[in-house]
């Protein structure tokens, strides 16, 4: 896959990141390099594997349905949020 301005624009949008005009060329170069590196993986024979194959064995552990939480933790997290008020996280208005 070839990275061009068009794809970079789409990636900016998907990632909610803005790449400065002056850095675009550099970023395109870096992303292309990463993709080339990943291309190496294509040498592996994955014919008989599904997309969610993992080298980790076994299943995800499960827990019993027993509720518990420490209300001091969300308090602390809220205090460290960029903006909070009356125990709400505050974000710029979302237009629906």
């Amino acid at each position: 896959m070839h990275i061009d301005e068009e794809i970079l624009k789409k990636l900016e949008k998907l990632s909610h990141l803005r790449i400065d005009e002056s850095k675009k060329e550099e970023v395109i170069g870096q992303l292309s390099e990463i993709l080339e590196y990943v291309e190496n993986l294509k040498e592996l024979d994955t014919e008989h594997l599904d997309s969610f194959f993992s080298t980790l064995p076994g299943n995800t552990p499960v827990r019993e349905d027993i509720p518990s939480n420490d209300p001091s933790i969300p308090k602390e997290i809220l205090e460290n949020a960029p903006q909070s008020e009356d125990d709400f996280f505050i974000v710029p208005a979302i237009i629906e």
Binding site: L14, T60, V62, V91
Partner: protein, 476 residues
């Protein structure tokens, strides 16, 4: 002529005690952000651990709709940015859902019982809530990571009525299984509708439009009907390609119309991939066995009521539509009430009165045992039907519940004693000897007159069946 094609996606909030990937409580209407922790707030390094009960509830649903339970299913990340989703992705099942290929049956006026396929039901995490407040939005993440079961139907419905029937049936099944409160107002049973049209006879599907988050059966019907009309109009005006495209629309409750959510170019790109924090879900035979223990469901109840209890199918459908009603009915039967009498007194007499008073069956001031006892007294002739209704009215207003005592107090006991009734009959007949002559000479209609006179003379306390029988004997 056009055909409407409808498929439904229902998000059912599972009623587990804790969230799907952390131990935070799922209690409703708590102080904002009280039920949160690093995992459901998406803080770096916090890892999800799956709630076993959520898996079990999903599997029970699978059994209830005759589906395949996948012993191995996968959690994926669905990426999107929105403040109510602090991870910037939703954990959902994409590649392999836990439940696939199910079905349920609805009653339709045109085609009788109709099968609706259930494509899949998968586990996923709910989002939090945004409250819009002028220049800012306030975010409450108590609901974030509450377990959801998303149930996706096949595009098998052909009218808004069928869609509503499907939803009602699904709602009822979920309530019987006790896997969700399924409260539409509180958002624990939410519905997305996929609607398209095609010329009648065409095999090909039209362009599917999704209408999101509709929170009542009535709005589902309205939204579908509006959308179908919009699409047909576009077709007939020759602008179908321009005006109908695969998009998400919102239903405006006040105007009764659907509105586009975003432009044609901005289609979502969710970039699904397997969540590296969660290994595949592999259900053990023990878990499968446990999930198989499900209560008797409405379809089975209808069969049993009709075949074993001998009640009408329509009545059985009414009673089983809500589990509270079915359990009430079954409690009446368990207490000794006759099925047919129980049906009448429950569905017309009690429900009529509850409806007037604005009370649900689960909050009925008269319990099943009491109503059952009342019907038994009607059946054994102790009181008349009219007397029974009087007692019901009395109990709606008073706390007394001992039926036999109430019968005594209100003086509603019927006279069934032959001797006492015969005495009244003889009195009536001798006072109307002219009419007795007429009757005997062929004026059969007068029989009703005699019955009326006897009932009147007994002040309504005589058992009408007995009066009929004894009068016939006397007049023959």
């Amino acid at each position: 002529m056009f055909e409407t094609v409808i498929g439904l996606e229902v998000h059912v909030q599972l009623n587990t005690k804790s969230k799907i990937f952390c131990s935070c409580p799922t209690s409703f209407a708590e102080h904002q952000n009280k039920n949160t922790c690093p995992t459901c707030l998406g803080l770096p390094g916090a890892l999800p651990v799956l709630n076993k009960e959520a898996v079990k509830k999903a599997m029970s649903f699978g059994y209830a709709v005759n589906a395949t339970i996948n012993k191995r299913s996968i959690f994926n990340r669905k990426s999107y940015f929105y403040p109510d989703s602090p991870k910037a992705y939703q954990i959902s099942q994409f590649d392999i859902p836990i439940v696939e290929n199910g079905e349920l049956y609805i009653e339709t006026p045109k085609h009788g019982t109709k099968r609706v396929g259930i494509t899949r039901a998968h586990l996923e995490a709910d989002a939090g809530k945004n409250i819009h407040d002028g220049a800012v939005s306030k975010v409450d993440l108590n609901r974030a990571d509450t377990p959801l079961l998303e149930i996706v139907s096949e595009p098998d419905m052909r009218s808004s009525d069928e869609a509503v029937e499907y939803l009602k049936k699904l709602h009822s099944i979920v309530r019987y299984l006790d896997i969700s409160d399924a409260n539409m107002q509180e958002g624990s049973f939410r519905c997305d509708v996929n609607v398209s049209i095609r010329p009648k006879g065409s095999e090909e599907f039209g362009t599917r439009v999704e209408i999101k988050n509709i929170n009542s059966f009535r709005f589902v019907k309205q939204a579908i009907e509006y959308e179908v009309e919009r699409q047909i109009e576009a077709w007939e005006d020759g602008v179908y390609e321009d005006e109908v495209w695969q998009e998400t629309r919102l239903f405006d409750v006040n105007k009764g119309i659907t509105k586009s959510m975003r432009g044609k170019e901005d289609s979502a790109d969710y970039r699904y991939f397997p969540d590296p924090d969660l290994r595949p879900v592999i259900v053990t035979d023990d878990m499968l066995e446990e999930a198989k223990h499900i209560p008797e469901l409405p379809d089975e109840k209808v069969e049993r009521y009709v075949n074993k209890l001998g009640i009408k199918r329509d009545d059985a459908l009414v009673i089983t539509a809500f589990k509270e009603m079915a359990y009430y009915f079954e409690d009446m039967i368990a207490g000794g009430a006759k099925a047919k009498t129980a049906v009448t007194w429950l569905t017309s007499e009690l429900l009529g009165r509850l409806k007037k008073a604005g009370i649900d069956i689960q909050n009925s001031p008269i319990d099943a045992t009491t109503l059952g006892k009342l019907t038994m007294r009607v059946d054994d002739g102790t009181i008349s039907g009219k007397g029974g209704k009087e007692i019901l009215d009395y109990m709606m207003e008073n706390d007394a519940r001992d039926i036999d005592t109430i019968i005594e107090e209100l003086g509603l006991k019927q006279v069934s004693d032959d001797g006492a009734i015969l005495a009244i009959i003889d009195e009536v007949l001798s006072a109307n000897s002219d009419k007795v002559e007429e009757y005997k000479s062929g004026k059969d209609k007068l029989f009703g007159f005699f019955v009326g006179q006897v009932m009147k003379a007994s002040k309504g306390s005589a058992n009408p069946a007995k009066v009929n029988q004894l009068l016939k004997e006397r007049l023959s």
